[in-house]
């Protein structure tokens, strides 16, 4: 897998025709210290929400460009995946949200010293936003400012 062959003909056509934005120039922040000294934030586009948060909206035409903050120490059993896409199999992540929102794995890795610490807030967005301009220009900048204030060193971004 990892290519277009997993999708239906309709989605293959869409993905081939979609005008993907090209990042140019590509920004680059070298790691400033060893991983075991770094603070990590997890960002997932699997539309994960906690038990007391609203699901992502499945009726907005361009996709829900909102964001949810999820605490690093959340109980994995309380998380719900609310992604609207019908293009992929949701059963794995609904059985084990760690598959795209690995809170348990990251806690284990921090305890083992592979990474230094975990930021108190993780972030959840929904992929499949057909016009990402609103997400990038409106939703993301203030959240990045929070992460800078949190003294986050590294970000791990996981799609679904």
């Amino acid at each position: 897998m990892g290519d277009l062959s997993e999708f239906s003909f309709k989605y293959r056509l869409y993905l081939k025709a979609y005008r993907w934005r090209r990042i140019d120039p590509v920004p680059w922040t070298p790691l400033k210290k060893p991983l075991p000294d770094c603070r990590l934030v997890l960002i997932s586009s699997a539309a994960i929400v906690t038990a007391d948060q609203d699901p992502f909206d499945n009726f907005i035409r361009i996709g829900d460009t909102g964001i949810r903050e999820i605490p690093w120490d959340v109980d994995i059993a309380t998380l719900r995946e609310t992604h609207r896409s019908k293009a992929f199999d949701h059963t794995g992540i609904r059985r084990d949200p760690n598959l795209a929102f690995p809170v348990d794995r990251l806690r284990e890795m921090a305890e083992a010293g592979f990474i230094g610490s975990l930021n108190h807030r993780y972030l959840s967005i929904m992929g499949s936003v057909t016009d990402p301009a609103q997400l990038i220009k409106t939703t993301i900048p203030p959240v990045v400012s929070k992460l800078v204030d949190d003294r986050v060193d590294i970000a791990l971004l996981i799609p679904v």
Binding site: G2, D3, P27, F88, I93, R105, M109, L147, I154, L157
Partner: protein, 80 residues
């Protein structure tokens, strides 16, 4: 996710993105990406398999410490 990664890098946070479609990754060009051979819905390989999930995560995070990489860096994940 690649566009979000770029915003973070511009603000001084190092990023690594796990990517499911190499074709798209090559077009969009995130700063650092681990291209995995898994189908959509399964970015960390398998549900309820901590060892496999941890292996993908370690491979992704290790890219951050690899001083030989230059942007845009796309590295293929080798399934253990």
């Amino acid at each position: 996710m690649s566009l979000v990664a770029a915003e973070l890098e511009r603000r001084g946070i190092s990023t690594v993105v796990i990517q499911l479609l190499r074709l798209v990754t090559e077009k969009v060009r995130p700063p650092r990406a681990l291209a995995v051979p898994f189908r959509h819905g399964y970015p960390l390989d398998s549900p309820n398999d901590p060892a496999k999930q941890r292996a993908v995560l370690e491979a992704a995070l290790s890219l951050l410490a690899d001083k030989s990489l230059q942007p845009p860096a796309i590295v293929d994940y080798e399934v253990r």
